[in-house]
Structures are given as structure tokens and as C-alpha cells.
Symmetry: C2
Subunit: 363 residues, 2 copies
DNA sequence: TTTTAGCACTCTTTAGCCTCGAGTGCTAAC
DNA sequence: GTTAGCACTCGAGGCTAAAGAGTGCTAAAA
């Protein structure tokens, strides 16, 4: 068997493409007769059958059972995505929806990601995922405190990625607003630009020293800062349009669907997946190509959103293996390109103005 | 037909209870023979059949088809929940798990709610929901600004419920930290303790007046405050253990499951449901008792968490109508009781303050 | 050498039919 | 009011037959 891609004749490619398209649409095995009718080929169904048999030998197609039509294999889809898929041209309406999102001018990435993934689910009719990747070593750029009551204040931290997180803190003894102001100054001096595992005993001692009379606050503070850093490190996976999965018959197997839902909820496996991707190119994982075993008859397409060379998020599409890759790829490109623009030019997130999103084309 | 609950004889109650228990466990129709064997009654199966026929006439039971056993109706479950259910005694292990949650000493309500709902899903083996209700008229108690760069700062707002939210803002012209400090003073003077619809033109004019040279910042600020208030108003619904639904055969109907998932994702209907409940008692909605039409063969049990008379959150359990109400009720009581303790005594949320930091964007 | 027509073959799907068994309702006796 | 007995109903499951879709193979044609 020669599996060289270049060995596929034009006709074979055409037939494979036709089968992939038919299978994407209907989900059923595709027979030679169907290919003949829907693809204007100048040959008979017998010839197509021969070609199909060869494509099966080469591993691009398979038969669910002896007298059924052919279904593209994982490998067939891989070849389709790599070499055969054509650029999907978005409708005016689709473009308009993306533009509408763009004009909403949201300033916070979390929100943008969720909205974008909602839209992605709507446009593609698959389930979409918004990912905020794990940040391995976030630090805090700036601390601020907010005085509420004599024994109750809020600690606010701005991370190196621009996230803002806060924690309510309570003190055993009353403190004054002035003490509090001093406290944030000290924090800014001692604990900025340190990741969780860089905070050591000397920092803590320095903190206590600088706090002077208020040294008793130190241990609670360190704990709070530590918690904040850990929260900032955590990745997030938010799923939109889960119900859309169910319209595809491949998910009518309850046990498998249950496993998939469980995995989605766990989010760890997905975060691992994303953390393994590099650069800001679209990734297409078909079936067993992803290490999430529960996704054997699913496909996951995702595109990272980068800023200044760092991955700050990603949008993914999850669906059956027979996914409309052309449309999914185009949608992700369109959306993430626009998000990058949004972040780069027209909003409040900058500081080191960004790189207006890179355009990638599929294929 | 006399439907008076008091008219149910002891034996009828016993039979109904037996059928409910059997159906909760197995999900299948229950026959007279089964009742006879598992309930030590001093009568024959024929008598039980007679009683069951009467219970059916009264509307507590129904037959899926003529030669099947009986299944409790919605009304049957309602009667069971109101009058028949016995207190479930938690195992030491279950209590230990709840206590472990308690000892985690989280300070932010959001986090507590999510963790508690995770635990609820684990303990009951149903799907759990953490709800942060819509707050109809939140106001901002305190503003704070954080200077990042000459044209980039963060606006932080502490709401009347204790939530902290922030927004990145960018200015066209550079501003100094002193300007920024003044800005937060002005905001605290003009825009605190106002809900979104109480902010009127005079406020805006006063803001501009007080800002003096920096009046050009006013419109962006008002917009940001408005956005913050709206975000604070929004309710949230977070689902845990969705995969658990699928183990119950009532959810093997794909179309219905799809509708349910869609509704869960929408969250509006659920928030409406919660907003209609009053006080801090457990609510049990069986089948069509909830107005969510998609839940006709489901049940929803939820318990609000109140603090100083205000509902600050809720935990709910969603499952099939034949839910183990005894266990679910006990679990919710145990959990929410402990959460109230957590908030009341031992943490940083006091002073009528609720919710903790939401982080926004990276970027 | 490649293509094509024809045909036998395979395998799934569906419908119909039957039996089995669970569970009931009714009647008549206790 | 309770019980034993029995006929009846209805779904589940298994078996068979027919239909249909699609293939692989062979032999002839291009």
C-alpha cells in the first residue's frame, strides 16, 4: 500500500471530497451511486466503486459493514482538512453578526471570549468553548486596598495579564484608612512581580518589618496574596451551546455523551490540550488525534488568541468528527481575527499596544 | 372522587410510600406483588390491588398501560413530599464532606456557591445548580481607581452586596495619579448608593462640574459605571454534574434532553423561577409545578441562602421527578445551613456584604 | 490498460407474528 | 372488608421473511 498523499489522483481526490461532503451533511455512509449523481464525473458507478475500494485500501475510507456505503476515516478527514477543504465564504449576515460583536466594544477579555464563543456556537451550530489558559507564572503588578469598615477591607490585585481580582479581609483589631494606605504601599514594594512560588520567607519577613505596628496583619495578607495568585493561575473553560451536540446522531449513545459531558465539566483535560498547542495557528484535532479518549468520534477545532506573543485565550468548536470544517475554520478565523483587533486597537486593555490580530487562512 | 388528603387511610399511605420508594429506586412501574413482599402488610395482593386502584382514582397513581404496575403521579409525589417523606439521616462520611467544605474557609460567596453545588451534586448524584439571583437594584457603595499608565487606569467598584467589579479604562489624554485620586473622590461623592435607573442627568452634570478640568472623562465614566451596575444586577446560574442527568432513563429521550440543556444554558427561566420564591425555605417543584415547560418529568429542589433577610444565593438540585427527595432535602439543608454559618461568623463577608471578587479580562 | 455493464452476493432494516410473563380487574367465596 | 382464582391485556423479546441498498467480481468493450 502506498499512502503517499501525492499519489492520490485528481479523480480520487474529487471522489473523496464528494464523500466527505455528503457524509458531513447527512452522517450516513455514502454509496457510489450518490457520488455519481452529485458529482458530474465522466465515468460510471463501477469505476467509482473501484476507486472507492482503492481509497479504502489506502485508509481514507471505511465500510461500517460489508454492504453499506463508505464513510471517511479519521485519516480521510485529516487529508480533507489538510489538502482538500475549500475556503468557506461567509454570508453577509454572518459577517454582520461578527461585526455586531465587534462593535459591542467590551473591554474585558473574559466577557469577549464568552460572547465570541456564544456567537461561534450560533454561527456553526456546534458546541463552542471559550478557554482562558492556565498561566503558569502570573504575578501581581499592583495592589490596592479599599477601606470599608474599621475591621473590614478589600484587597485588590492587578495581575501581569491585566486581570483584576479582589478579596475581602477582616482584621481582629480595628485599623485606620491610613494604616490601610500604608499597607498597600508596602505590598506594592514587597510582593509585586512575584509568582506564587517565588514568595519566600524573606519576603514575608520584609513585609512584617515594613508593616511595623501592623505586622500582625502580615500572615493573613500573605495567605490572601497567595490565594489570589493561585486563582489568577487557574485556567477556565466555558461551554456554549451544549444542546447543539445532541442534534447529531453520533451523540445519541448516552453512555458516551455522559463521558463527554463529564470531561467537559472537568476542564482539566481540555486545558492540557490547549496548553500543548503552540503559536496562534488553528489546531484541528480529529478523533483520536486528541488525547482525550472520550472524543474518539468527535473533532475539536480551536484557535488561540495571542497578544504580544502570549496566548491570552482561545475559542474552540466541538462537534462530531464529520464537522463542517470549512465553515468552522472560517468562523474561527473571522472571530478571533476580530477579537485581536478589538484588543489591539480600540479598547482599554492596552499598554504596549498590540499587534492587531494575525490573519491565518485555512488549508 | 374525594381528594382530601386526610382521607387517605394509614394503609393507603403505607402503600403509596412503598410505591414511591420503589419507583424512586428503580424507575419502573411497581406492582402489587412487589409492595406485598417489601412491605410487611397483613393483607393479600388482591387487597393491595384494590387499594392501588383507589389511589389511582384519587389521582395519586397512574398506569403507563393497562397491564403494567403503577407509577406515582405528580400529585402522588407532591403528597409524598408534603406528608410522607421521612428525614434522611446523613452518613458520617457525608457529614464529613460537608464539614470539609466548611473548613475550606473561602471568603467569596461565588466560590462558596460553586463549591457547595459541586458537593451537592456529588452527595445526591443529581445535577446541582448554584444560583446568584438577579439583584433588582444594586448600587455601588464605594469607588476606587488604580493608576496603571498615563492613559490607562482601572475603575473598581464595591457594590452594596459586597461584590467587587472592575473595568479597564483608557483616556485620550494622559492623566496624573493625582487627577485619578480626585476622580475617585468625585465618584464617591456623586454616584454612590444609586441604582442604574437612579442615575440621571443632574448626576452627570454634577460629575462634570466637580471634575473641573477633567470633565472630558465624565461620559466614559458614566458609561463604565452604568455597565458595572448592569453587570452587578445580573443573576448567574452555574451547573455542576450535568453528566449525572444522563444516568436516569427519563433523560434518554434526546429531544427532551436537548430542550432541557438549552433551557439550562439560557438561565433566564431559572432565574425567574428563583426570583419568585420567597423566604429562605426549601422549594420543591415537581414536574409541571414549575413554569419551565421542559421540566415536565423533572423535579427541581432549591434552597435560598439568606443573610440579614436578603437572598444572596441559592443551591438547587435538578433531577428526574422520581427524585430521592429525602436525601436531597437533607443535603440542601445541611449544606445551606453551613454556608449561612460560614458567612455569619467565620469569614470576611460580614456587614451585610455578600459576594466577592469577579475578575475580568486578561490582556 | 482502463472502463463499463451486469449480476450475484451480503448485510441491514423493517414488518409481521408469535410466545412469554407481568400485572391487572373482576367475580365469587370467606 | 378481604381473599383466592382466573381471564384478560399489553409490552418485551425473539424469529422469519421480504425489501433495499450497495458492493465485488467477471467478462466484454474501448
Amino acid at each position: 500500500m502506498d499512502h503517499d498523499k501525492s499519489e492520490l489522483s485528481e479523480r480520487k481526490k474529487q471522489i473523496l471530497k464528494a464523500i466527505v461532503h455528503a457524509h458531513i451533511e447527512g452522517g450516513e455512509p455514502v454509496g457510489s451511486k450518490y457520488v455519481l449523481e452529485n458529482q458530474h464525473l465522466t465515468c460510471s458507478s463501477a469505476t467509482i466503486r473501484n476507486e472507492m475500494a482503492e481509497l479504502e485500501n489506502m485508509g481514507y475510507l471505511e465500510q461500517p459493514h460489508a454492504s453499506a456505503g463508505r464513510v471517511p476515516t479519521e485519516r480521510g478527514y485529516r487529508f480533507y482538512v489538510d489538502s482538500l477543504v475549500e475556503h468557506y465564504v461567509m454570508t453577509a449576515n454572518e459577517i454582520a453578526q461578527i461585526n455586531r460583536l465587534l462593535h459591542a466594544k467590551m473591554s474585558e477579555l473574559d466577557q469577549i471570549l464568552v460572547e465570541a464563543s456564544n456567537l461561534a456556537a450560533n454561527l456553526t451550530n456546534y458546541t463552542a468553548i471559550a478557554i482562558k489558559p492556565r498561566a503558569s507564572s502570573v504575578s501581581i503588578n499592583k495592589f490596592e486596598t479599599i477601606y470599608l469598615e474599621p475591621d473590614h477591607y478589600i484587597l485588590v490585585a492587578v495581575s501581569s495579564t491585566g486581570s483584576v481580582k479582589s478579596k475581602h479581609l477582616q482584621t481582629k483589631q480595628p485599623i485606620t484608612p491610613e494604616t490601610l494606605a500604608n499597607l498597600s504601599d508596602v505590598l506594592n514594594m514587597v510582593l509585586t512581580n512575584l509568582s506564587a512560588d517565588q514568595i519566600t520567607l524573606p519576603h514575608m519577613m520584609k513585609l512584617e518589618a515594613l508593616l511595623g505596628n501592623d505586622a500582625h496583619l502580615a500572615s493573613d495578607l500573605i495567605k490572601a496574596v497567595y490565594d489570589l495568585l493561585n486563582e489568577l493561575d487557574e485556567g477556565e473553560v466555558k461551554v456554549s451551546g451544549l444542546d447543539r451536540l445532541l442534534q447529531y446522531p453520533e451523540y445519541s449513545d448516552v453512555a458516551q455523551l455522559q463521558a463527554l459531558l463529564g470531561t467537559l465539566e472537568n476542564k482539566e483535560e481540555f486545558l492540557d490540550l490547549f496548553s500543548k498547542s503552540e503559536g496562534d495557528d488553528v489546531s484541528v484535532l480529529i478523533g483520536s488525534e486528541s488525547e482525550v479518549k472520550v472524543m474518539n468520534n468527535s473533532a475539536l477545532v480551536f484557535k488561540p488568541i495571542t497578544k504580544d506573543g502570549k496566548t491570552i485565550g482561545a475559542i474552540g468548536i466541538l462537534g462530531p468528527r464529520r464537522m463542517d470544517y470549512a465553515k468552522v475554520l472560517a468562523t474561527l478565523e473571522g472571530l478571533t481575527g476580530n477579537i485581536a483587533d478589538l484588543i489591539g486597537s480600540n479598547n482599554q486593555l492596552t499598554g504596549g499596544k498590540g499587534n492587531g490580530g494575525e490573519q491565518k487562512d485555512d488549508g
